[in-house]
């Protein structure tokens, strides 16, 4: 088959990080190519280069044997490349139709051609099993539906090569099946597909050929039908990393208890609905569920940042309902937020300042009269970095120069100074490399041993199964009943995540 896309010797670095090193591969017409690799392997950077969001330092991209103008998404689109980003690029306050129409017409045209476009959109939707109401506002749609708009956008611009970046990341297993059906329909219609993923099973199911990336370089390429699962696994990771063993735990007293908590949004819709949850010392309670089902609000409620409309929260037996985050911290709650750059660290402040950020009530750091003790602060920062394997050049360097893994280790280390009773960890290993993930997991397990209660909110089922003692599913603001880890049935869990039984 003739090659539709040729990627030749692409290299790209961000500062000191070499995100892509001399990458070469091609995609044939009507083929589904999978780019497989763990988080941070350089997959998304590569796709952003093909699509023109980023400018490569070196290398060329040819589409239909013509060189693509680098750094220009418009050139990629008009050549026939479409991309569905992992983080959707949709204007929430506009309709499905408006989102599809942006950029499809000359800017200086006096009139949006709405009617004809609705017909085309409806036709495409029917053809590929992507049904949507064009006049619906995007903010009212589910994650799966938003993804359909993104795919429709590319089809609307007559795309010949569709790039899907981690398309299954926030889908339920059932939604994944629907997506794969649509993809197969597109391929029969002559569209080629690049699918980026770190999920081995899904890749084996959908793709024709697999290219494996590790640390920014191509480390292997196989036809899917000849692929061997263990061999691929090794290619992805490079060297075997031992997953920690959960070991035995001693169950202690109840450390955190939520009784029938309800939270409403500003416009009155329910975000959390009568959530009841309890964690005892030495327990890891896993909260499974697809993103956007109330995870963040649940975590923020447990850490005092959101005050529930109804219900009571007890920390160590003390009723803290309606109290401030400071009170939760004083009772020993540590909250590792999902977005560590936005909610966790301050990139423009130095490492040592980030370490003492949560120590403002510590009289060794800030004396009674509010004067900063610099020596103690620096010592503490050194200690936190050393105890938690944070790799840094100087504690004076701004935190934004740290890698994601080091930022996460710093954040967790900062909380551990306070000897927490309760740790609320939100997606603690998302986007980290294997080494950092393993450190984070070991830290959580060692805290479990110290009889800390841990609430682990994660979208990653593997992580939940590995660490949790009990698992609950959060769907549409409601919690399922508790399932003991040893009794878990994956299919059943998947169905629950899709809303069965709520």
């Amino acid at each position: 088959m003739k090659a539709l896309l040729n990627v030749e010797n692409i290299s790209k670095s961000f500062g000191k990080l070499n995100a892509n090193k001399n990458i070469t591969f091609n995609v044939a017409t009507g083929e589904i190519l999978a780019i497989l690799g763990e988080n941070g392997a350089g997959k998304t950077t590569l796709m952003n280069i093909i699509f023109g969001h980023y400018l490569a330092d070196k290398g060329t991209i040819k589409f239909n044997n013509n060189e693509l103008k680098p750094g220009d998404p418009k050139a990629a689109i008009s050549a026939g490349i479409g991309m569905v980003h992992q983080h959707f690029t949709l204007a929430e306050n506009l309709t499905v139709l408006e989102n599809t129409l942006v950029g499809t017409q000359s800017l200086y045209h006096p009139n949006l051609t709405k009617r004809k476009s609705i017909d085309k959109l409806n036709y495409l939707a029917r053809e590929f099993g992507l049904e949507l109401d064009p006049k619906q506002l995007v903010r009212n749609l589910s994650v799966g539906e938003k993804q359909r708009i993104e795919i429709l956008k590319t089809l609307f611009s007559d795309c010949k090569l569709l790039i899907l970046d981690e398309p299954t990341a926030s889908l339920t297993p059932q939604e994944v099946t629907t997506l794969f059906t649509s993809i197969r329909k597109m391929v029969t219609n002559g569209v080629s597909v690049i699918i980026i993923s770190h999920k081995l099973n899904e890749i084996l199911e959908i793709s024709d050929r697999i290219v494996v990336l590790r640390s920014g370089a191509v480390v292997g390429e196989v036809k899917t039908k000849n692929a061997d699962k263990t061999q691929l696994g090794e290619m992805i990771v490079g060297h075997k990393i031992n997953r920690p063993n959960r070991g035995k735990n001693v169950i202690g007293e109840t450390k955190i208890k939520l009784c029938s908590i309800s939270v409403k949004s500003d416009n009155g819709t329910s975000i959390l609905d009568k959530v009841t949850l309890e964690a005892r010392g030495g327990e890891i309670i896993g909260i499974a569920g697809v993103a956007g089902n109330g995870q963040k609000v649940l975590a923020e409620t447990m850490s005092g940042h959101v005050t529930p409309a109804f219900g009571t929260i007890y920390i160590n037996g003390k009723n803290l309902t309606g109290k401030y985050p400071e009170d939760f911290m004083r009772s020993g709650v540590a909250y590792i937020p999902e977005d560590r750059n936005l909610d966790g660290t301050i990139g423009d402040m130095s490492i040592w300042e980030n370490v003492i950020l949560s120590e403002t009530k510590n009289t060794k750091i800030f004396q009674k009269n509010g004067i900063l003790n610099r020596i103690n602060s620096h010592n503490l920062a050194h200690a936190v970095c050393q105890n938690n394997d944070v790799r840094y050049q100087s504690i004076q360097q701004p935190a934004r120069l740290l890698s994601g893994g080091n930022i996460q280790k710093l954040l967790i280390g900062r909380w551990l100074i306070r000897k927490p009773n309760v740790i609320i960890a939100c997606q603690p290993s998302r986007g980290l490399d294997e080494g950092a993930i393993s450190t984070v997991h070991k830290t959580l397990l060692s805290e479990r041993k110290k009889s800390t209660a841990i609430i682990l909110i994660s979208e990653d089922l593997d992580e939940l199964l590995l660490l949790s003692d009990k698992i609950l599913v959060l769907y549409n603001g409601k919690l399922s009943e508790t399932i003991e880890n040893r009794n878990v049935n994956i299919n059943q869990l998947g169905l629950k995540m899709a809303g069965e039984g709520f």
Binding site: G15, G71, D72, P325, G344, I346, D348, F366, G370
Partner: protein, 352 residues
């Protein structure tokens, strides 16, 4: 064209950038002088002579710098926490109102109590003028830029009402001005028989105090954290609202001090032209001082030189005095460019 974040910024780079932006502004001013049909060399000579030519002119520059240090600090303190207080002009007048209310005979103390008392009152009322607006921002998300701007108009109308009505000095020959500040409240001169008064020394000391607070205390630390990333600060147990309220009290209070210093130091009584826009110029002062309290002292001096010098220059070579305002305004813009260039490198590659 695209911008790429710099990995490291050397500590001296901001100051180099700020000096070069001052130079850029002066070059721009030279163009404007040429447009007005005069010689820029002669113009700058007159400007310099006007600002430094005699004991009197140096004192005049210091006297003009005084309110600018206060309003510059007010803006710098607020902007550092990303609290956009554009209302220093109004808070200055509130400080002046407080000075007039307490200082024209209502209470009498010995000077060493009276003067601190007037400053304290100016601070409290300046802070109170800003307090409701910071509460609106924190609790109801009302943009403070617009509310502080609008309050300036309201406050100046209030001053106008008081000066034409109940507070009008019967001995003022019909001019809208308030009664003079009692002798014990008047700030002594630093250089005798000039207009340079104690307010200047107080302004400089306040700047040093602020510098200490910002670098050595919990409040300063929290302010920086909240300014850079309020969400991360909140998640680490720092109360954003409390910090913001503290910042507003400090910012509004310091702007109020400018009013005390101008009323009790420079003029001796409140008039409607007490401030020719010192509140707005304070923004330029703060930007040019890199939002650093000590930097503010120097940038206030620089801008005072421009104001006093431009006044002299316009008399000597007939260039409109508004040149000073143009210079101040373009300073804000040139500093803004240089601040971006400190954090980012421009890369001219790819499409523009």
């Amino acid at each position: 064209m695209r911008l790429e974040a710099r990995e490291q910024t050397p500590a001296w780079l901001p100051w180099i950038a700020i000096i070069s932006s001052s130079l850029a502004t002066l070059i721009f001013a030279a163009v404007l002088i040429i447009v007005a049909g005069a010689s820029p060399i002669e113009g700058f000579y007159e400007l310099f002579r006007g600002a430094f030519g005699s004991k009197n002119s140096i004192a005049e520059t210091g006297a003009t710098a005084t309110p600018l240090i206060f309003t510059g600090l007010a803006a710098a303190v607020a902007f550092r926490a990303r609290f956009w207080n554009i209302g220093a002009e109004g808070q200055l007048y509130i400080g002046a109102l407080a000075t007039t209310f307490f200082g024209t005979g209502l209470i009498q103390f010995a000077p060493f109590i009276m003067i601190p008392f007037l400053f304290l009152m100016g601070f409290i009322f300046g802070a109170l003028a800003l307090l409701p607006l910071v509460l609106l921002r924190q609790y109801l998300k009302v943009d403070e830029v617009v509310t502080t701007l609008l309050m300036n108009f309201v406050i100046i109308l209030l001053v106008s009402y008081l000066l034409e009505g109940p507070w009008k000095d019967p001995y003022s020959l019909g001019w809208p001005q308030a009664a003079p500040i009692v002798d014990s409240g008047v700030l002594p001169q630093i250089i005798p028989r000039t207009r340079l008064h104690l307010g200047f020394a107080i302004a400089v000391s306040i700047a040093i105090v602020i510098w200490y607070v910002q670098t050595k205390t919990l409040f300063g630390f929290s302010t920086r954290a909240v300014g850079f990333n309020p969400s991360a600060a909140k998640h680490s147990g720092i109360s954003v609202t409390k910090t913001m309220i503290g910042v507003a009290i400090l910012s509004g209070g310091i702007a109020g001090l400018a009013g005390v210093s101008e009323t009790a130091g420079l003029k001796g009584y409140l008039t409607l032209d007490l401030s020719p826009g010192f509140g707005y110029t304070g923004i330029a002062v703060a930007m040019l001082g890199n939002l650093h309290p000590i930097g503010v002292i120097f940038s206030a001096m620089f801008i005072a030189v421009i104001y006093v010098g431009a006044d002299a220059m316009s008399r000597a070579i007939e260039v409109p005095t508004y040149l000073a305002d143009v210079i101040v305004a373009s300073t804000i813009l040139t500093v803004l460019v240089s601040l971006v260039l400190i954090k980012y490198r421009i890369i001219f590659k790819g499409k523009f």
